[in-house]
């Protein structure tokens, strides 16, 4: 269960010698590639938290129902609890720790602060990663369940109504009920300018 240095790295996909149910993987997280042997049962969530000490990503339900573990995989938001670490392959992972650029918070992090988009904060990393992914989807023109049937989709995230934001973030639960301020925070970022640096894909 040791983390190996990149220089001694076996090829990704190699089975660990002693344990046929462990596999060497190269996990690229927030721009850094880590080589480690993982038990095949390890979720990406557990690999991040327990092996790479990136504990910003939270474990809520561990069954894909709460969204606390949301991270970005090649820029797409996913539930890290349902993603096997061994199946990540060469896709790159962005966690809440990877959103800020140097000392500047990501605009979504700043907006959650500005609008008090949390109370206890436990769901917040997942909310923020999910919101970043959701705005990228809207910028791509993806419709949602509440987009009128005749509409193909929004021209950009700037067009999103509060209803649209609520629907698109329905995979993230907040037991404190901070939803009202979360929607306001996401609206602020949706309306503002976004640069490529804001979209980790």
């Amino acid at each position: 269960m040791t983390i190996l240095s990149p220089t001694s790295a076996p090829r990704a996909g190699d089975r660990a010698d002693s344990r046929p149910t462990e596999t060497f993987v190269h996990l690229t997280v927030n721009g850094t590639t880590h080589t480690l042997a993982v038990d095949n049962r390890t979720s990406l969530l557990d690999a991040l938290r327990d092996r790479l000490e990136l504990t910003g990503t939270k474990k809520g339900c561990d069954h894909g129902q709460c969204g606390a573990c949301t991270v970005l995989l090649d820029g797409d938001r996913i539930n890290a609890c349902l993603q096997l670490a061994v199946a990540v392959g060469d896709r790159s992972v962005t966690t809440i720790e990877g959103l800020a650029a140097d000392d500047a918070l990501h605009p979504m992090q700043q907006a959650f602060l500005d609008h008090d988009g949390y109370q206890c904060g436990y769901c917040t990393p997942g909310q923020i990663c999910s919101a970043v992914g959701a705005l990228a989807e809207a910028d791509r023109g993806w419709p949602s369940h509440v987009t009128p049937p005749g509409d193909t989709g929004p021209a950009s995230a700037a067009e999103l109504s509060a209803d649209e934001i609520r629907e698109r973030l329905s995979g993230n639960l907040c037991r404190c009920g901070a939803y009202v301020n979360i929607v306001t925070a996401v609206q602020q970022v949706a309306a503002g300018p976004r640069t490529d640096a804001d979209d980790p894909s």
Partner: protein, 331 residues
């Protein structure tokens, strides 16, 4: 969770060869949104997992005859948002966007969506008896918690429902499923993919061990597919399985029904194509009275349980509302 071997499939045929030759506890892995959860719960206990999510089955391809071939590894979010699908097959786009969450849609594949297992609480709890999970142990749902379970197509052994929204839309659109087996490729109607539980509810589908779904084929866009829609009722506004659902498509000339498709979700072990109602409606006036009467001929066959009898009138209302919405008449 049981320990398991993991490998990435090199090609569809290599995957089929590997799994066909292996014991039945070797399984395919798609997006993992259901399988990984079932493994955590101890409901699925594979010894070996063959990952097919990275196979080059992730494209949409227009076929020479005008149909659309959807690769089995296409993500639910990509398919639901595709402008061509949204325009030509609106029921499919709407069903996908009504399912799960943004995160899960980004992970889930088309093949995996079709093959997801029931969310029946007894099936998903290894401390409980369940004929689907452990044949012969009984079905506590009949006299227990069955509000979300089947009202039609069920058997003495099992009253589970199939949870997919997407499959209901595909059923109404007459989709066909491309299956690669050890003896080559075959194409089956979606309705032939799923089987009713009878006395062997362990098997959800007619697939054999090693069979791999490689794609789903939609018929060419037509007036019927373009005038299709999906309606879903659930306990909260978003991110919940259906309490009732319908995919419908209809064409009308001079107030008379030319052609119609109706498929129900959340009421049966598979998408429930309402063929009796469809047959009755063709050639009839496209109004609420005739639509309701046709649906009654279908739903009279329902055998609900005490806590899910609401699904009969709910399904009827959803279908009447969807069809009238498509026809454009008064509701």
């Amino acid at each position: 969770m049981r320990e398991f071997h993991y490998e990435r499939a090199a090609s569809p045929s290599a995957a089929v060869a590997t799994v066909t030759a292996a014991d039945t506890d070797t399984v395919y892995l798609g997006g993992g949104t259901n399988l990984v959860d079932l493994m955590k719960l101890g409901v699925a206990r594979p010894s070996r997992v063959v990952d097919v999510s990275g196979l080059p089955l992730d494209g949409l391809q227009t076929l020479p005859g005008g149909g659309l071939l959807i690769g089995a590894a296409v993500r639910n979010s990509v398919l639901g948002s595709d402008p061509q699908v949204r325009h030509a097959y609106p029921a499919l786009s709407q069903a996908l966007l009504a399912g799960a969450s943004g995160q899960i849609r980004n992970m889930a594949t088309v093949g995996g969506n079709l093959l997801q297992r029931t969310r029946c609480g007894y099936f998903n709890d290894i401390a409980k008896p369940c004929n689907k999970r452990e044949p012969g142990t009984g079905c506590p749902a009949r006299t227990g918690v069955h509000r979300d379970l089947a009202i039609i197509g069920h058997s003495a052994a099992c009253i589970a429902t199939h949870p997919s929204d997407m499959a209901v839309a595909l059923s109404a659109l007459d989709a066909r499923v491309h299956v690669l087996g050890s003896d080559g490729t075959r194409v089956v109607q979606l309705d032939e993919l799923y089987r009713l539980p009878g006395d062997s509810p362990k098997w959800d589908t007619t697939l054999r061990h090693g069979d791999l779904i490689t794609g789903v084929e939609l018929p060419p866009p037509s007036g019927l597919t373009r005038r299709s829609m999906y309606r879903k009722a659930r306990d909260r506004a978003s991110y919940a399985f259906a309490a009732g659902a319908v995919a419908a498509a209809v064409t009308v000339t001079d107030g008379t029904v030319d052609d119609v498709r109706i498929s129900f979700g959340a009421i049966a072990p598979r998408p429930w194509r309402a063929r009796i109602a469809e047959q009755e409606l063709v050639g009839r006036p496209a109004d609420a009275r005739h639509i309701g009467a046709a649906l009654d001929l279908e739903l009279v066959h329902a055998r609900p349980f005490p806590d899910n009898a609401f699904k009969v009138p709910l399904s009827r209302r959803l279908a009447v509302s969807a069809l009238l919405g498509l026809i454009g008449g008064p509701r």
